[in-house]
């Protein structure tokens, strides 16, 4: 009983812990993946999704993000090793095809269900890929609600 209470208290005092991602240092991942957008934490997609994404870089969300093969393999390996996790679960659509948009994953949709379309369209946000527009500490992997400031 006492132990349960302690655990409950501990969980209550760190509600934000679940929204933090520790991303191991990886120079090629940081340089290549963060040139056009922020480096999204590998944990946000499962290994199957990352594999699919890394096999299709010349057609990456409508742009050419091709890499030399050595770097592509190194980054794919890093993403695979750090992919997914309990919170993320399986990132696939209803047919089982791997999702490559983090914004379409079950967790993202659930966490943002209260954000209206008009909010996404605000000039300071514009894209669901623009995490840092609202998550002020996203660059450090911290997506805690405490650090969310939604621009007007």
């Amino acid at each position: 009983m006492k132990r349960t209470l302690v655990l409950l208290l501990a969980a209550a005092s760190f509600p934000a812990l679940a929204d933090r991602y520790v991303v191991p240092k990886h120079a090629a991942f940081e340089e290549e993946c963060a040139s056009c957008h922020m480096a999204y934490p590998p944990q946000m997609l499962d290994a199957h999704s990352w594999q699919h994404l890394m096999n299709n870089l010349p057609k990456h969300f409508g742009t050419d993000a091709s890499l030399d093969e050595k770097r592509r393999v190194a980054i794919a390996d890093f993403l695979g090793k750090n992919a997914g996790g309990r919170k993320t679960g399986v990132t696939a659509d209803a047919k089982g095809n791997p999702l490559i948009r983090i914004t379409e994953t079950e967790r993202f949709v659930r966490k943002h269900r209260q954000i209206a379309d008009a909010v996404w369209q605000r000039p300071a946000i514009k894209s669901k890929a623009n995490c840092t527009a609202c998550h002020t500490t996203a660059a450090e992997g911290n997506y805690s609600d405490d650090n969310v400031r939604i621009p007007r």
Binding site: T63, D64, A65, S66
Partner: protein, 128 residues
Amino acid sequence: MRFPLLFSIALSLAASVAQAETPRDFLTRFEKEAGAAASAERGGRFFTSRHGSEWSCSSCHTERPTQGGRHAKTEKDIQPLAPAANAARFTDAAKVDKWFRRNCNDVANRVCTAQEKADVLAWLLAQK
């Protein structure tokens, strides 16, 4: 024993100096490949106009690339492309080749010719 060590340090320094390239080196390289001189005026027109795709170079890099830009899709800040405003630009062959490959594909659905690269770089070098 000390001499060979110093000698090898000197050699590796010389090698790294030889590898460091300047924007002018790239201009020379592209002009040589094209077999013709660059035209900054033509480069400016290429940079700011569309080539069959939704975006031009200036969609992200702006028409005044001494200033920073923003990615047309993700909104991420882009550092200035003109060497006068950003000394890191056009100093690394792997990066120069990578970005021309990707961005020409996005803007023109093909690789750019050496002449186009020379022209654009000449125009970027003229931006102060």
